[in-house]
């Protein structure tokens, strides 16, 4: 038996940098360093653990849709231990929305071949948290999403989803789309050996035509949403800061009373 896992990983601007928008109101990717979205490291980690815990022959492919630099995200995932990578890159992808992204990812997942797709819970830039559900809808397979615990056995994926009202145990047959939260377990650091090995691992490059897609289906042109404006939030006016010299609690109560909170 063999199990083919595709992990979707996004290349995003570093959240600790000064992120902003370009003139066309897409994310400015030139000014801030990019990296593998930290929440996708958890997806890679779970794929590797499923692989390590399985008697089957497991192949882990990492997949990204993004500009040239997005290779860095793939390299990071390969150095953690993934077997191979797919990079979908095309100038016409600039400005793609969530629906377009899920279309490209679904086509690439089908082309790569899969039994299980693992995604992060949300990207750290768009933070929509919708791509895994969209992939399940497009691929016509079960979504087993937002798991804080996941396991795969005999063609069945099981996991725990911690929601607001309840914690739920879920189960579905493969093929399926899974997404994992940052409660699923710390992601490993790439070892030196892993980093060296990653350099030799294959990175396949596909463009839109490889996926039988046309420019008009993606990018700004194909988007179903339009951003009309993006304005930087005005800096908060400097607040009052006091040092506690025994009266800090009282002073704070005074402030809260002045604002009618008490």
């Amino acid at each position: 038996m063999s199990l083919r896992i595709v992990v979707t990983v996004k290349y995003v601007p570093d959240a600790t940098g000064d992120r902003h928008f370009a003139d066309d109101l897409t994310v400015d990717r030139d000014d801030v360093d990019g990296l593998l979205s930290e929440l996708d490291e958890y997806a890679v980690e779970q794929a590797l653990q499923i692989s390590e815990n399985s008697d089957d022959d497991v192949e882990v492919t990492v997949l990204t849709v993004g500009p040239e630099d997005a290779k860095d995200a793939l390299r990071k995932a390969l150095s953690m231990g993934a077997d191979k990578a797919v990079h979908v890159e095309d100038d016409d992808l600039h400005g793609t929305d969530a629906l377009g992204t899920s279309l490209v990812l679904a086509k690439a997942i089908e082309k790569a071949g899969y039994d299980l797709v693992i995604s992060g819970m949300a990207s750290t830039d768009g933070t929509m948290g919708v791509v895994p559900a969209l992939l399940a809808e497009r691929l016509g397979v079960p979504q087993v999403t937002l798991l804080s615990e996941v396991s795969v056995e005999d063609g069945t994926v099981r996991g725990r989803r911690d929601g607001d009202a309840a914690s739920e145990q879920l189960e579905a047959s493969l093929p399926a789309v899974v997404s994992v939260t940052d409660q699923s377990g710390e992601a490993r650091y790439p070892s030196f050996k892993g980093i060296m090995a990653a350099k030799k691992k294959p990175v396949q490059a596909w463009d839109l035509s490889d996926l039988d897609l046309e420019a008009g289906q993606v990018g700004l042109e194909g988007a179903y949403t339009v951003v009309d404006s993006a304005t930087e939030r005005p800096a908060r006016t400097a607040g009052t800061i006091v040092k506690d010299e025994g009266e800090g609690g009282k002073q704070l109560a005074e402030f809260l009373a002045s604002q009618k909170f008490i």
Binding site: D97, L99, V130, D164, S229, G239, I241, D244, G249
Partner: protein, 320 residues
Amino acid sequence: MAEVLVYVDHVDGAVRKPTLELLTLARRIGEPVAVALGAGGADTAAVLGEHGAVKVLTHDASEYADYLVVPKVDALQAAVAEVSPAAVLVPSSAEGKEIAARLALRIGSGIITDAVDLEAGDAGPVATQSVFAASFTTKSRISKGTPVITVKPNSAAVEAAPAAGAVSELSVTFSAQATGTKVTGRTPRESTGRPELTEAAIVVSGGRGVNGSENFAIIEALADSLGAAVGASRAAVDAGWYPHTNQVGQTGKSVSPQLYIANGISGAIQHRAGMQTSKTIVAVNKDAEAPIFDLVDYGVVGDLFDVVPALTEEINARKG
């Protein structure tokens, strides 16, 4: 006037506050028609009617509780077919976003998530989003299909606006995918008696500086003196001092209360992502250089073990 579908988040007929906020926003763009699924759906009609729902479409089936997400998408799609709405509004919970996304794909529409405001525009509803950890505000709209928009809690004040709230049964045929993901077990969360974190008007949070689960009692005491919800930073959650369901931030809850009080929290970007839109921000931190002080309306540089109990005592005394 055009109808606007509002997906109802309820627990056994008790409507959660974000849904009532959606009804307020929906009235800006049309006449709200609510969709209440599962057990107790019909019991929601009175409160939904009081808040502006002209119609309440209900449907109950065991599939809603026994399988994940898809049965609700099937029902919402049936409602869209019946009503031909001008827009579909869904609360921005984790599940709400997944339902909305799959619906948008099926009906050939775009999706906007986590809107913090909504207004009518010449080319359809205009949504305000707060992005990049609330450092930018964007205005967006959907250019193809019926706008599907998810809205964050606390994005509008709940307003009463009595309407008919006439209940009618929705006819739903479940898709082949509906039973794909089975819910094999469910452990309901125990109620603490405190307000819901995302809906609370005041949130009192503790971070690594609280230094131990037993010390969270002083954070809870302050919260209780203000009728507030309790939040925690990821550092406090990861240390096992407080449940993950109370985590505030990028991978926890995003809150937007009238007042946020951060105690022993440094203010990392991922924490700020979940609380930066709070109206008034207060922090207690012993480090005058902590980044959280860049955000505050009022800050106390001091030891939380001195300041927080003194504050609680003062509040309780004033309440007399």
